[in-house]
Symmetry: C2
């Protein structure tokens, strides 16, 4: 399914001219009754209840079978028990229904037998020209078409789109947000994805001109790579707020390289979501918090926040929180301070950022609005957070005035800490319904703004373009890489030796150690002369791993005598076939990094960067991205690890050559794209040396 | 002020027999009117409004001055303008008032002039036998005494105590929680703490038999060490939920050692709060979330959670969150699974942990309660989280039934995701008022339970005892430490050489490198023989720092020739006075840690443990504690760093000898207590070697 056709293919589903409800009921407590109630609430017109035991349901003529309906049926919603769903779908297909929504559960999620029935339903449906949504879902909500959910049934259309693998999430989110004045274009619960998937609908919503903001709930996907591409494309045009469930599941992956082992535990998902520009959230509440900021506010131009607080304590605590979230709380300009001084009564608190209006804001609520307007005009400020001790219509009106008066449109959000007028929940609803982003806690408000500014930064750095740009355009140097791979495969090997692995890296222009592989002590002397002391002597060979732990690495060799001793110690010690010795330059540098490649079952080739050396696995301070990556991705990976400060100058060491480091990561990503025979790469350590970053040890694993 | 007397001294303040309001007003919008309104609401009896311009306020006889009141006045609340506050306080003192609450602001927080007036007010008050609360505060809320706040005025007493440096926090928290059925013993806003401090009131609440749970907001304290002791003592008996504002402020500290430099940025505060067993929160909402769990639920016996969810998506996402929070989501016992199977209708979801009731819980809400009771009886489960899709009185009644039926009392919390009945806020209020901990989001519910289980663990490990136990009882070995210190001080030095520093460590039984200090090349031979190759030769001397960066450390010396070269290179290179050379055993080990001591302006001697070597400062993976520490504190520090896995066995290295490592940290803490002349200690690195942890380099700084 290509970008160009998915909108054309899926859009009619959201606008069915007629609808059959198979399993409709008039009996209270039945799911068939709940849906009929909602359809009557929204006033869907051409509605055909189907129930073999009823001739009329809630005043509407009912049919024993869909086949008895005299008119054409565009969409059928199947609510029947599990056992009779296949029969219902078969009749739908016979009737020529275009979209079949199967709400019934007990199929793919219930085991092998259910999975087989599910597949058969899809086969039958598609053979009849129908597409299937579900089973085990709540289906489609489309206010403009008067298609309701089980809980939510608002009919005023808006521009928030929802796609969810959890029916409840989609239904409850639309219900809750509608209660706060947010309006939706479409919401889709795609259940078991037997035919149409969350990725299909994400692509559709990305293309849909009626959708400006997307909220999604996802637990997994069969094709992570397609999901990634679709999400990346869509997020260039509109924000995607995603709750990913199941991030902590640890797939039992058998991996030889450390990169492969580290890829579990959701770390690749994390990287892919970030790379796609998705706004990830970790709870239902956070999804709503983000929605209220992203849907109602313009994007900020930076991360400098102005805080206007009634309570002094909240001003202090919120400033803490903003710092923790990576926002800046700059001083106001002198001009702003003077304007504030003129406009404010002498307050107990502070008139610099954060503005602490203290008790004055209770006595004269208008000063809160005045301070907001003045602060918004400050060039040093990109967005604003108001903490108000008054609520109700007074606050709503003040904020609407501020919105109207603000010359320079900057995002601002409001936290309500007003107790005695009415409930905070009502205050928030009042503000949200007027298009003002509102929160019950300043910490959540600050977080929503931080997310908004982060998304703005990503949007800025990734303009919306057609198709995917691949930065690695320069042609390859060297060509013997395939020889190395083919030789290994011919020998039935899937692990390359350190020296072979580095041959491939070198062919791609990645700086590696100067080294020579020797099998014979008689060649040692020449090698020593060419490499020069001090040097390293280590074992090499396809079956050598954990060399240091096994005592197979001798560093700091300073003369021929030491070299011979080391050579013999290695050659005597190991009985392994194909063992050789590497005479290697000694790369000096105390900072060790790791760069790696793995092929993920869902995302395909993925590249890793992180803290290297012996700490790679225990600290797991790493970042993943889906290959191919662009330079900006590589730079983001470098900045994402917790130990990123080791790339700066410290303790007499110069700053790392960021460009060359990013180049290595980008080139490894390119190997992943161009060399399908390579399954995993570990370059550990990459040492930051005086001549730049150098791959000191490397391991490449091939596909069998 | 000792523990025994503070309760007796402060308790009468909360029960004044008579009250004068200086600056009382009948005019709407005036703060004096707001307080009078509240006092009339609560019905405080012996109330004397004071206002020079009024003879009657809101129907009560008013006085021109407090001196005109015919009866004795126990408490006076001063609401006058800043300029007339001192006069009011002077009259209060003359009148013999016992407690003066100064609400007025514009004193210590407003600059030097205000500070002087503030000091004068306290002087006058105390001279007259009065104690002062404030200025710049909201004062005391005590429902049992009918003392109200400006916002909150509930008169039903309970057992939550509040102490806050932010008046608004105290006032708004009591108002909000009272709305949800929580009742308070006392709340104190202590403002500028001109006389009585937050620590005084924390100590009082810790002793107060009417207070079972404490909530606090604190920005700073003049005596961190006393605060720490008071909080530690109180938290052994009752939970203290604390929002610490201003944690990100970075004091411009001039420190020579790395430990000293790392002590800024609130890291010592973090360590002290943890060590005191305080439950720290980072927002107003989190404070309430914790209060609702800590005040209403029993302590769990472990960290194993059972999850009963209506929505399947929420079950998945909440399980993720629980893992992230360090909770366990174990499988149920076979017995539980069979009981669940019998009690539940065939559900679409799962009957193992997390239980996913799916749509069934909407159709038959009772199964949610049944599942809760069954899961609570499972021996593998310590606490429970229910996510309900129904709300209202139905949910309230079901949960009350569950509470009554539960044989084994375990904490359980409820998340309400029910949309169509009434607002979630109302649902939550209904549950909370019945003593059921309730949250609008499962992620917050899980976090509150995680905090509860963490506090239970700390309480378990620190039984309530009188006074502080000091673990380091064994007497000192060696006695020449003082010589070293005295010699240095006599020479006008405040920095000890590496060798001198290690002498002190050795005297305290901390394992250090075998080494000899030599000044003369002629002594080198003997030293080499005694230490044995391979060894390290490095510069030593009081003014030597950053030795490695300066090329003053030669490791891996394998023969006399190398030793002589190294010796000369050091001696030639530096012109510094008192320079010597250390011949030191070479300690092998790839894991480097840091142990340190600093004297904090607020907390006194504090000990540090963390990741050592060159990464100490860039990674800042460290933990602080206030000295003296006990063994459990040292073990907690070891377990607190992010890199704690390097203490386990990995990559051929054995697990660290935890006991010996903890012993080093404990001994450094003891040096801090016993040697007041020592200002800072840096032991970096402590290397995990084959013979255990060894202090390889050390720096001790003395107080001038």
């Amino acid at each position: 399914m290509t970008e160009k056709t998915i909108f054309a293919e899926l859009d009619p589903m959201f606008h069915p001219g007629s609808l059959a409800v198979i399993g409709a009921s008039g009996k209270p407590g039945k799911i068939g009754r709940v849906l009929m109630d909602r359809l009557l609430e929204t006033g869907f017109q051409k509605l055909y209840p189907v129930n073999p035991g009823e001739s009329e349901i809630l005043g509407i003529k009912a049919y024993r079978s869909i086949l008895e309906i005299p008119d054409a049926v565009d969409m059928a919603i199947v609510l029947t028990p599990t056992d009779s769903a296949l029969a219902a779908v078969t009749e739908c297909a016979e009737k020529g229904v275009k979209t079949i929504v199967i709400t019934t559960s007990g199929f793919g999620e219930a085991g092998e037998k259910g999975k087989a029935v599910q597949q058969e339903m899809v086969r039958v449906a598609r053979a009849g020209g129908a597409r299937v949504i579900g089973p085990n879902c709540v289906g489609i909500y489309c206010p403009a078409s008067r298609l309701p959910y089980l809980l939510g049934a608002g009919t005023a259309p808006g521009s928030v789109g929802v796609v969810s693998q959890s029916g409840f999430f989609a239904d409850y989110l639309t219900l809750t947000a509608t209660g706060n004045g947010i309006r939706f274009s479409k919401a889709i619960s795609c259940g078991n994805e037997s035919d149409l998937t969350a990725t299909d609908f994400l692509e559709y919503l990305g293309e849909d001109p009626e959708t400006e903001t997307i909220v999604a709930y996802l637990e997994g996907t069969a094709d992570g790579r397609r999901f990634y591409h679709v999400a990346k494309e869509a997020s260039r045009k509109k924000p995607i707020i995603l709750w990913k469930g199941g991030l902590t599941e640890t797939g039992a992956r058998a991996a030889i390289s450390h990169t492969g082992a580290l890829a579990g535990s959701g770390r690749i998902w994390e990287g892919a979501l970030r790379q796609a520009g998705i706004v990830t959230v970790a709870s239902f509440e956070e999804a709503l918090d983000c929605l209220y900021a992203f849907h109602l506010q313009p994007l900020p131009r930076g991360k400098r926040i102005g805080i206007i607080s009634g309570p002094g304590g909240a001003a202090v605590g919120t400033t803490d929180r903003c710092f923790q979230l990576g926002l800046e709380v700059p001083q106001f300009s002198q001009d702003t301070i003077e304007k504030l001084r003129k406009a404010m009564p002498p307050v107990g608190g502070s008139i610099n950022n954060p503005i602490d209006l203290s008790l004055a804001s209770m006595v004269s609520p208008r000063i809160c609005k005045d301070a907001l307007i003045i602060a918004a005009e400050d060039e040093n400020i990109d967005m604003l957070l108001v903490i108000s001790v008054v609520g109700g219509e007074l606050l709503r009106d003040l904020m609407l005035e501020a919105l109207a008066e603000m010359r320079d449109k900057k995002p601002f959000v409001v936290t309500v800490m007003a107790g005695r007028t009415q409930s905070v929940a009502q205050d928030l609803g009042l503000l949200l319904a007027s298009g003002i982003s509102a929160y019950p806690d300043a910490s959540r408000a600050a977080k929503a703004l931080a997310r908004l500014s982060e998304y703005a930064r990503i949007r800025e750095s990734r303009p919306a373009v057609e198709g995917e740009r691949i930065a690695t355009k320069d042609t390859m140097r060297g060509a013997n890489r395939l020889d190395v791979i083919e030789t290994a495969l011919k020998q039935g090997r899937t692990t390359l030796s350190e020296h072979e692995s580095k041959e491939i890296l070198r062919a791609y222009g990645i700086p590696v150690t100067r080294e020579e592989e020797i099998f014979d002590e008689r060649r040692l002397g020449e090698s020593l002369a060419r490499i020069g002391f001090p040097l390293v002597i280590k074992a090499s060979g396809p079956s050598v791993s954990h060399k240091t732990e096994q005592g197979l690495v001798h560093t700091g060799i300073r003369n021929e005598h030491e070299a011979v001793t080391a050579f013999r110690s290695i050659m005597n010690r190991a009985e392994k076939e194909g063992l050789s010795v590497l005479v290697q330059e000694m790369v000096e540098g105390r900072r060790e990094l790791v760069v790696g490649l793995t092929r993920d079952a869902q995302f395909g080739p993925c590249v890793m960067f992180g803290l290297g050396g012996i700490f790679t696995e225990v600290l797991q301070d790493i970042a993943f991205r889906v290959a191919p990556i662009e330079r900006t991705d590589a730079l983001e990976m470098l900045g994402e690890i917790k130990a990123r400060k080791i790339l700066e100058a410290f303790r007499g060491m110069p700053a790392a050559e960021i460009d060359r480091l990013a180049d290595i990561v980008t080139k490894v990503s390119r190997i992943g794209i161009e060399q399908p025979a390579i399954k995993e790469i570990d370059i550990n350590p990459v040492i930051l040396s005086q001549r730049g970053p150098v791959a000191v040890d490397a391991l490449i694993v091939l596909n069998r």
